[in-house]
Symmetry: C2
Subunit: 415 residues, 2 copies
């Protein structure tokens, strides 16, 4: 166990969580005294326990309780993880909720003794990645996530916060251990031989070529440096399609435990990169070329649309309120262009690590046919490489999409 | 007074400082019990009291005590200043001393109740700006400051510190109030009409042209953004030639109360920009064109030399120790080029604000002849504008110097 774990800490289970819920005054608007409650642990991660609790008489009265484990569950207590991430997640959720309540689960309370957050149960939504893998379109997603990004990034930056609050927020969201996971898994390990990389063996020729590519490693190093030094905004830090819950009407970003002050392009790029990972996966997932082209076009249209919404909302909520003397229009345009180019570079790194590194995504790794998986993985690597190497050419979101969609898989190897 | 001032706080005077010194065990290696001590207050700033204390029998046994005032002295207690800057200065000095003891005054102790630092008395040195204004050359300065910059910047960055220490240091050196002074006085006010700007009236046409220049304000906004967001290294934050004490053999950087995690180019640029301010001032200070050219060449040679030492020492202490797989040579070269271009942009801002803004420098404002002062100020503005607007062209330090030395003053106005 961690040396700095609270002495009050105990992991809950599906029995003890019911008693715990009954004791919390903050939940008395949801549950009635003494009524029958049911609970189940649904965490599929290794870092946290996640309980759903509901009233037996009326299951729509429900909460989620997310409790941080002070160690990585898979390996017992051999890999301690900082419980402080639970505080950071709860505090990030509160800020996001204050800015975009329609896209953020509401937090009822945070319990610092148990590293536990009680929040809104998104029981009518699914993980977006699962929906995309099944070929489901979410027509409102671009509008929702573009607004989420514009407000959560713009309103936590120096463009909106006063000089003092911003700097205090940087210190409050210092999150070294979880940043370290990203630094290692996204920016370092995929580009060198390590035991933790986990690509399938058919892909090895391309992975070795990527690792031997000095120019690629140079660009990735620039992205890593930016991730580690640019305290631009309070970013979610892990905004892939597995951290987004959707249905046809609504979109919620969940799980900001990686939140810290970092580059805006890391969040925007996470969304775009994960849409392109799905785009690459559909190369193998949808056999019918017409249906495939239709779904891939939905994905690229979504990329274009979410960026345009982001720019529109950033204009409305941020630029329309800054002083144009010290921040002239040309500066504002350049600022947005730099976010776009950063998004290409960061999204590229997030794509490539999902193919080469420890933590894959089901979009690609879930493809059972090895040939199909190799085609999808190879295409994802090629899109990633093109986006990061050519990011300085990008002037518009259409340029970015054009770079990505002009890529083809290198598999089967032709040499 | 500040609400958060220590209850033990009292400003010392030249009597009480002697009793205080006698009580401090940390100084018993310097002063003998009961011996006669003398003291004088020598602070010429408005933010701090500075006492020199020495043994009457042997004046070379001496210390300096620097005590922060919790308000700006000029205006009584109407402008409170954070006493936390005294802690930051003492802690920054300790880090700098651990890296370059030959260029940092030694700290004997920091007293958190009195916001007071006892340190080495640099009694054989003068403020570099005064020496330069008198036309004195310091042949070892480039070697010394190049090493100081390489070690203090490189060794406090992510290139050397582990992921966790770096992020904790960023939080420990959060310095909002003093950063705000720089944000306002260096990056904001010179480029708009404000009551605090203080140029002489003959310069007004050029100042108004600078303030009307959208392209210039766009570049300055980028430098301000970088200052506010890029947590690259623990920078001194105020490394002008008035913060450097020299003689023909030694160089010391003093007064890091503005220290925080910022862009390396801000420190390198402060040195370079202040050398060019002196270069511009000599246009009026040295009437003999041969002598003037000789001193100006000394200044530009110093700029070239200090950058080359910086690069050489950065190679030795930093790049030779990083992992070349994830930080290939091309990345390292690009990193240094970005520092060079940042130094041009940051140095440019520091030059222009010294001409237009509240806090001038004696190099230029000390010129009594108005025509001479106008020539020097106009040249400084032209060098500043050229360096920031053309910084992306710069590939070598010689490029930077060429851009600066190809500038001429615009005064007298020819239109």
């Amino acid at each position: 166990m961690n040396a700095d774990v609270s002495t009050q800490y105990r992991p809950l289970d599906s029995q003890s969580v019911v008693d715990y819920v009954r004791q919390r005054a903050e939940l008395r608007d949801i549950f009635r005294p003494g009524e029958a409650l049911e609970a189940v642990e649904v965490g599929d991660g290794n870092l946290n326990l996640v309980f759903k609790v509901w009233a037996r008489a009326e299951p729509s009265r429900t909460v989620v309780l997310k409790q941080a484990l002070p160690y990585l569950r898979l390996v017992g207590d051999s890999w301690p993880l900082p419980t402080d991430r639970a505080r950071i997640e709860a505090e990030a959720l509160k800020i996001e909720y204050s800015l975009v309540p329609q896209h953020t689960p509401r937090v009822y309370f945070y319990d610092p003794d148990l590293y536990l957050t009680a929040m809104q149960n998104l029981d009518r939504h699914i993980i977006m990645r699962k929906g995309l893998n099944a070929g489901v379109k979410y027509p409102l997603f671009a509008e929702h996530i573009g607004l989420f990004l514009a407000k959560t990034l713009g309103c936590t930056s120096d463009l909106v916060l006063d000089y003092k609050t911003k700097k205090e927020e940087v210190a409050r969201f210092t999150n070294p251990e979880l940043c370290k996971i990203t630094e290692d898994l996204v920016f370092t390990e995929p580009y060198r031989k390590t035991e933790r990389n986990q690509y399938h063996k058919e892909l090895e020729p391309q992975v070795l070529a990527w690792q031997a590519d000095d120019a690629l490693r140079t660009e990735v190093a620039q992205m890593k440096e930016k991730f580690m030094t640019q305290a631009q905004a309070l970013i979610h830090g892990d905004l892939h399609t597995g951290s987004i819950m959707v249905n046809q009407e609504e979109t919620y970003a969940i799980d900001p435990e990686f939140a810290f002050y970092g580059p805006m392009g890391f969040d925007v790029g996470a969304v775009i990169g994960n849409l392109f990972l799905n785009y690459a996966a559909q190369e193998a997932r949808i056999p019918d070329p017409v249906k495939r082209a239709d779904f891939q076009k939905y994905l690229t249209d979504t990329v274009i649309s979410l960026w345009k919404v982001f720019v529109r909302e950033f204009q409305r909520h941020i630029w329309d309120r800054v002083d144009p003397i010290n921040m002239p229009k040309a500066y504002q345009d350049d600022y947005m262009l730099r976010i776009l180019q950063d998004s290409a570079g960061m999204g590229a790194c997030k794509m490539m690590r999902r193919v080469i590194g420890l933590a894959g995504v089901s979009d690609i790794r879930g493809i059972e046919d090895v040939t199909g998986k190799s085609i999808a993985a190879s295409l994802a690597l090629n899109i990633g490489r093109a986006l990061i190497m050519r990011r300085r050419e990008i002037r518009t979101i259409e340029d970015l999409v054009e770079i990505a969609t002009s890529c083809r898989p290198s598999y089967p190897w032709t040499h």
